[in-house]
Symmetry: C2
Subunit: 354 residues, 2 copies
DNA sequence: TTGAAAGCGCTAACAT
DNA sequence: ATGTTAGCGCTTTCAA
């Protein structure tokens, strides 16, 4: 038998009221006289009452619907991992009466984001999890959610003005600094390092700009003045000019490394391999299949893992705990900057704790 | 309302028996006629019945006692993290009727381990979580647990013969390889690297021997024949001869790096700092305060995080899920090899997802 | 061997 | 405004 747990029944007895009244006080459902409320609160605070969450869910078997607004995994391998996390979370929380519905948008199409946000809104969800890739398009959407008291959690891209209940992601500035170290480690000047934006809409991606800042600051902070960092914008890797642009970059004097701010390092690795430039270090993001190949081959030197799968499972878990168990939510979940090299890659792939 | 979940009641109706009978079949409690059992099983298999775990715990409110056998955190900062994880898990699982009791032993005293194991055994726990630091002393203990059908989970040190329900830790061989890369990255020969065992009982620590193997194999696999790896045993850092031994090591020709197989890198960093040997790279384990200081100062180049806190929380979670919810347990939880450098350290410290 | 029924702690609908 | 009560799905005891 669980030893000495105080239950609602106990509180009711001690306060001289009924269980119903205690429940009303606990959940601010109103219709309680001041005196009764006062007595109940007093008993509660002096009794370290902890609600039995198990019984709570069993008792109220209502269903909560969470809408998850994420980029279409069919259009970019990076987002398949987010989708996988979503599925995991959906299964895990189903037994608690939480229904998770994904709503996909095209991550290169602002308008698709807008349309999807409308669909989400009209579905009248109990909560929303979203990757707000389009900064300016997203803001009004979240304003509406706020007005309608629909709690929402953001991941991937931080939009402070949106005032989400919770944000999940990494410190992009630190991430850029780390990339700097990974490229520079063991080198001695004069060295030059490029930060490459591959087919990115920087205007709408404050986190990528932050990465760039961190990267540049890393080199500024070195005592050695011989090192330089500069940024360059590249086109869609599938476009014809991509290789030309890249070869131009590769001709830069003293170029020792390239930092790709997204999961697109493989596109650069492809060219590096072709032109046999083994002197150029390459650092990028995320454990997608295309990158792993080049990491194993030693063409990509390191990847920083953003853990997209965990981002979505945690996002759903946060919302589900909030809705079902009325648990508090941290304002932010910053993920560690995981360094993946050829030597520890397999340990990450084999591990199921992430 | 949760839509179409089949309950025990439904199965009972379909099989034409009572709920009690279904329950007996589900849990092999016996006292069921062959015919009844058959009918119930048929209905179950054709109905994708999933037990409601929530209701399960509510219904049977029995208490489970888990004994956690770990090194005394007062004697070594490394083990404070394990203890912290234990406390976290204890609080988390209390509401499910799981009582976690720590039993501490002296990690340098075989006899203390033996004594503690007896105490644990006599407490008649429902399950055991243990860090079996003393290989040979541990084996008979686990044999007894097996005989008494007491489920147990091991972490930190893998003892396959003990046949635990589950093991939690890292792949030590890969870990050694990774250390090799971290020390070698960017160097060109001739280079020599030492693997230092600081006050270790190698006989009883197969995982440390594995690290050494991996480390040496890393250098053997380099095409470059100029590099060499060798091992050295050092005394207790508090003993007078420690510094002498270390200085001897530091005089080795072409020495470029030292790999410490435990959390004791700080002891070597101390001497490195004193003798101003900034040319020696240092790689060790774990985010204990003493190490962090030298990592921030750039004297330790990288730490591999073994995540001791997570090891114990997961160990308890595994056992608790097994006992309370009758969930299956994976045979092994291998943790990823987390690389911590000066640049991503803060991101790990700030993160609460580990 | 089987069925009936009382609870686990909480919620929510209903009476008062 | 307050109390009473019937569940939620499962376990477990007791009687048959």
């Amino acid at each position: 038998m669980i030893t000495t747990n105080v239950r609602i029944k106990d509180i009711a007895r001690l306060a001289g009221v009924s269980e119903g009244t205690v429940d009303r006080v606990l959940h601010n459902r109103g219709k309680v006289s001041k005196e009764a409320e006062e007595r109940v609160l007093k008993v509660i605070s002096s009794s370290n009452y902890k609600p039995n969450l198990i019984a709570r869910t069993l008792g109220s078997n209502r269903v909560y619907r969470i809408a998850a607004m994420v980029p279409d995994p069919a259009l970019d391998p990076y987002w398949t991992q987010s989708a996988a996390g979503l599925n995991l979370a959906r299964e895990e929380w189903a037994q608690y009466g939480v229904q998770v519905t994904p709503y996909y948008f095209n991550h290169h199409d602002k308008n698709s984001f807008l349309q999807t946000s409308l669909t989400v809104y009209h579905s009248k969800p109990d909560a929303v999890l979203a990757a707000p890739l389009f900064y300016y398009t997203a803001i009004p959407f979240f304003k509406v959610l706020k007005e309608n008291n629909i709690p929402f959690v953001l991941f991937n891209t931080l939009i402070p003005q949106a005032e989400p209940l919770n944000f999940i992601g990494q410190n992009s500035f630190q991430s850029g600094q780390l990339a700097g170290e990974l490229l520079f480690y063991g080198h001695r000047g004069p060295c030059s390092y490029a930060i490459a934006h591959v087919y990115e809409d920087l205007e709408n991606s404050p986190h990528l700009v932050e990465k760039e800042k961190g990267f540049k600051v890393f080199f500024q902070q070195l005592k050695d003045q011989n090192n330089e960092a500069f940024s360059v914008n590249l086109s869609d890797p599938d476009a014809s000019q991509f290789e030309t642009q890249l070869n131009e970059l590769l001709a830069s004097p003293n170029l020792k490394g390239i930092f790709v701010t997204t999961s697109k390092a493989f596109a650069i690795a492809r060219v590096l391999e072709k032109s046999d430039r083994r002197d150029i270090r390459l650092v990028g993001y995320d454990l997608i299949e295309e990158n792993l190949h080049y990491l194993r081959a030693g063409i990509i030197n390191a990847l920083i893992n953003q853990n997209p799968k965990r981002q979505t499972t945690l996002g759903i878990a946060n919302l589900a705990n909030y809705l079902v168990f009325k648990k508090e939510m941290p304002g932010m979940n910053l993920f560690p900057l995981e360094i993946i090299t050829r030597q520890n890659l397999e340990s990450y792939l084999a591990s199921d704790i992430h």
